[in-house]
């Protein structure tokens, strides 16, 4: 049995936030049906990167990653027949996940709530479904800017820089999944379904954690500070920083309980001097210079090994290839990557579980082909005849 056994989720969203939400719910065992446009599929299928860089709806890395474990049907919900079919499908569902791209009035959260009190409707929109900016547009970088997180990342002498990829969307997807299981607890505790209204910009604001309190109490802004701690006074702990070594970069952190341990390991007594320990962050430049001297003669593996032997929390800055190659053997020992039988990419190893649960296993399955489950769901579950299906396909509805 899985954690979300028996839960059926219909996901009509297009992007990474809904995609990651779907991956999480499917991994936890829900039956997640992704509704996508006929022929072209979702943005995830068009985003790449692609196998051998040849664009193809079945070989986009984003789709292979986020589609894992879901079922796929095609449906043009902008057509009247398509919207009607989606409503039929929703009669079988516990959860509906939707985004700004669905404009049909019958599919709006308030309309759905009327006829289907038990349905949990989750909308994922850039700024949330309510408020003066509910209709504003955003991509990930824009949502990060609005949420306050963008201004915190970057070097002081350059423009703010966004986190890699689609981090606001990933976090919004995670919060969506949390909101959905929370609403499920209410419903299975005897309550009704409800509208979970997710804002991607708020997911970015969530990442600023602590900065709002510091601004409120001390009037202190948290502005970008390279890889050093952000928005904190000279007395704050240091080092916590990425520095170059002989062959790359190392993340360097002191031992919080034994701040002078760093000086001993590096044999740099200055790092334990009273004025440095009184204002560690205030001595960041001087500290970095001493760190650089020690790191220059070591590659990242050796530097981290020596530091970790002394219980200093140093880590190697790894590139994605080094993560996958797993020289340290951790992911291999834990069998994190799982070979899935992908018809689109031979021998593909998919990412495994974000969490491991002893009673309810995470489900790792390959991502579906576009429309792979059309017959299974339309004919098998909604009792639509093969002839009607052929007609719908010819009309471009599915």
């Amino acid at each position: 049995m899985t954690a979300l056994s028996g839960l059926r989720v219909i996901d009509a969203t297009d992007g990474v936030a809904g995609g990651y939400c779907a991956r999480l719910l499917a991994g936890l065992g829900a039956d997640v049906i992704k509704v996508q446009r006929p022929v072209v599929g979702s943005t995830l299928r068009r985003a790449g990167p692609f196998l051998h860089d040849i664009p193809h709806a079945e070989t986009s890395a984003l789709q292979l990653h986020l589609g894992a474990g879901t079922r796929s049907i095609t449906l043009d919900v902008d057509m009247v027949t398509g919207a009607a079919l989606l409503l039929r499908l929703l009669d079988t569902a516990d959860v509906f996940v939707t985004g700004p791209e669905l404009q049909h009035p019958a599919l709006r959260p308030d309309a759905l709530a009327k006829g289907r009190p038990e349905l949990i409707v989750t909308s994922i929109t850039p700024f949330g479904a309510s408020g003066p900016r509910a209709q504003w547009l955003a991509t990930d970088i824009v949502a990060n800017a609005a949420g306050g997180y963008l201004a915190m990342t970057g070097d002081p002498d350059r423009e703010p820089v966004k986190p890699y990829g689609k981090q606001a969307a990933y976090q919004a997807g995670l919060h969506s999944a949390l909101g959905i299981v929370a609403a499920l607890m209410v419903r299975e505790g005897g309550g009704d379904g409800q509208h979970v209204d997710v804002s991607v910009a708020e997911a970015s604001s969530f990442l600023t954690g602590g900065a709002l309190a510091r601004a409120h109490v001390f009037g202190r802004q948290s502005v970008r500070n390279g890889t050093r701690p952000v928005g904190l006074p000279p007395e704050y702990l240091y080092p916590s920083v990425i520095r170059p070594c002989a062959d790359g970069y190392v993340y360097v952190h002191r031992h919080n309980r034994f701040p002078d341990l760093l000086a001993a390991v590096l044999q740099e007594p200055r790092l334990a001097a009273p004025d440095v320990l009184a204002q560690p962050l205030g001595h960041a430049d001087e500290t970095d210079a001493l760190l650089d001297g020690w790191l220059a003669s070591r590659d990242k593996w050796r530097a981290v090994e020596e530091a970790q032997e002394a219980r200093l929390p140093f880590t190697e800055v790894l590139d994605p290839g080094e993560v996958v190659e797993d020289r340290l053997g951790q992911l291999t020992a834990r069998e994190f990557f799982v070979e899935v039988d992908s018809p689109a990419v031979e021998g593909l190893r998919a990412l495994g579980a974000p969490m491991r649960m002893t009673a309810t296993p995470w489900i790792t399955r390959r991502a579906p082909l576009l429309g792979e489950h059309n017959a299974e769901i339309y004919a098998g579950e909604l009792d639509i005849t093969r002839r009607s299906l052929a007609r719908l396909a010819a009309a471009g509805v599915i």
């Binding site: 049995m1 954690a3 056994s5 990167p49 196998l51 890395a61 709530a113 408020g131 900016r133 955003a138 991509t139 970088i141 824009v142 990060n144 306050g148 963008l150 990342t153 423009e159 890699y164 990829g165 981090q167 919060h175 999944a177 949390l178 929370a182 609403a183 607890m185 209410v186 910009a201 708020e202 604001s205 990442l207 954690g209 602590g210 309190a213 409120h216 109490v217 948290s222 390279g226 006074p233 990425i242 170059p244 190392v250 993340y251 952190h253 219980r311 200093l312 140093f314 880590t315 590139d319 994605p320 996958v324 951790q330 992911l331 834990r334 990412l351 974000p354 969490m355 649960m357 009673a359």
Partner: protein, 407 residues
């Protein structure tokens, strides 16, 4: 009705990731009881000024503590002493969840590993949040959240194309792991409600973070390509970036997802003729002339007030936002309308901002209005009301320094 009404959570967490997980559970309605060691709360540098008329106890005014532990109760307990362990196990017997994020060896060494907890409460949900996992060659390695940004590939991928790696600011990994753990906890509670079965959940922070760089890992798996930093550039959008505005250090993020938005942008910046310029005709041409596009956009933004530019672009249907400063989030009309921040009064630290997760629920107020606990605040509530210790027994626990009401 709150999603986790009637759920009791024991919170043995430290640092940031664990407290984020339990504060989310408190927001969802769980009663979260922190068990804190009987030595002073680590005295951070962020002590709020005293409140007039309130006792001057700096350890109750640590801003980061009060932020991370909003919504929770607290009891001080020395788990290294047998009577302390007994209190904990008696509390386990009447609780639903225990969350901890210590190194994997710590809980078993205190005699409170998963098996011991089960002996007190057969269907307990235990949630552990080690950095790398309780198994594998790195199980004993120590790391904070930013150190995991380094090992997940996220730091390598974030930053300027011509500079070194950069982890996303603040504590990305901790907030990610905290929310994932909250999700796993609620999922485990759902399973328990249906089957009566508890379990042990393990959220290795590294494995949680690899999820958000999945496309880069699969790019290497499929193509052997090691992705590099590209700053604010986007693989298939132009313009896409962060542009300077008038004033000191003000920036606006602008992205055109399609040609239509580019045409609208040209009109907003008063250069409609650029829409017909062959260099910028479609996204491929604009990508090819990315520097020219960015120069055109920046020449306009430089003369604009950041919020006026944002309003002009959004009114025309172009995705844009000021890079909001933290202090501005309090006044942000959208966040205010959705009450993302709510001020809650703390008896010794004054009014403090409480945020919430990134969603609202139409019929559940998914946030806690309880202020962070004072030191030892809930000693009597837990020992007397919940566990039925007598006044004499409570006094003895204090006299023997198993519990404490002040550091």
């Amino acid at each position: 009705m709150k999603p986790l009404d009637g759920v009791r959570v024991i919170d043995l967490t430290v640092a940031i990731a664990g407290p984020v997980a339990t504060s989310l559970l408190a927001d969802l309605g769980a009663e979260v009881i922190r068990i804190e060691p009987p030595f002073p709360r680590p005295l951070h540098v962020d002590i709020a000024p005293p409140v007039a008329g309130a006792p001057d106890r700096p350890y109750n005014r640590i801003v980061s503590y009060n932020d991370l532990h909003r919504g929770k109760r607290a009891l001080t307990l020395d788990l290294s002493k047998p009577p302390g362990r007994e209190v904990l196990l008696r509390l386990v017997a009447i609780s639903d969840v225990l969350v901890e994020n210590m190194a994997p060896r710590v809980m078993p060494s205190l005699g409170i590993g998963y098996e011991s907890l089960c002996a007190s409460r057969r269907d307990i949900v235990m949630v552990s949040m080690p950095a790398f996992g309780a198994t594998g060659p790195l199980r004993e390695r120590v790391s904070y959240g930013p150190g995991i940004d380094a090992m997940s590939g996220l730091a390598h991928l974030t930053g300027y194309a011509d500079r070194g790696p950069m982890q996303p600011a603040n504590y990305y990994c901790d907030y990610n792991a905290g929310a994932l753990s909250a999700l796993a906890t609620v999922a485990a509670l759902r399973h328990r409600a249906r089957t009566g079965e508890g379990q042990h959940v393990e959220l290795a922070m590294l494995e949680g973070e690899l999820q958000v760089v999945g496309e880069a890992l699969l790019d290497y798996e499929m193509n052997g390509r090691v992705q590099q930093r590209t700053g604010n550039a986007h693989p298939s959008m132009s313009p896409h970036g962060v542009y300077p505005c008038a004033g000191d250090d003000r920036w606006i993020a602008i992205a055109c997802e399609n040609d239509e938005q580019w045409v609208r942008l040209c009109s907003v910046i008063g250069q409609p003729q650029l829409a017909g310029d062959a260099r910028f005709a479609d996204v491929l041409s604009r990508m090819h002339h990315r520097r020219d596009v960015d120069a055109v956009v920046a020449a306009w933004t430089r003369t604009q007030d950041v919020y006026e530019a944002e309003a002009a672009l959004q009114s025309a249907g172009v995705p844009a936002s000021a890079a909001a400063l933290i202090s501005e989030l309090f006044e942000d009309p959208q966040l205010s309308s959705r009450e993302f921040v709510r001020l809650v009064e703390h008896p010794e630290a004054g009014w403090l901002p409480h945020t919430r997760a990134a969603f609202t629920m139409s019929s559940s107020d998914a946030r806690s209005n309880r202020h962070a606990p004072l030191y030892g605040q809930d000693t009597d509530y837990v020992l007397r009301d919940l566990l039925g210790y007598s006044a004499d027994e409570v006094r003895e626990l204090e006299d023997t320094h198993v519990t404490a009401r002040q550091p």
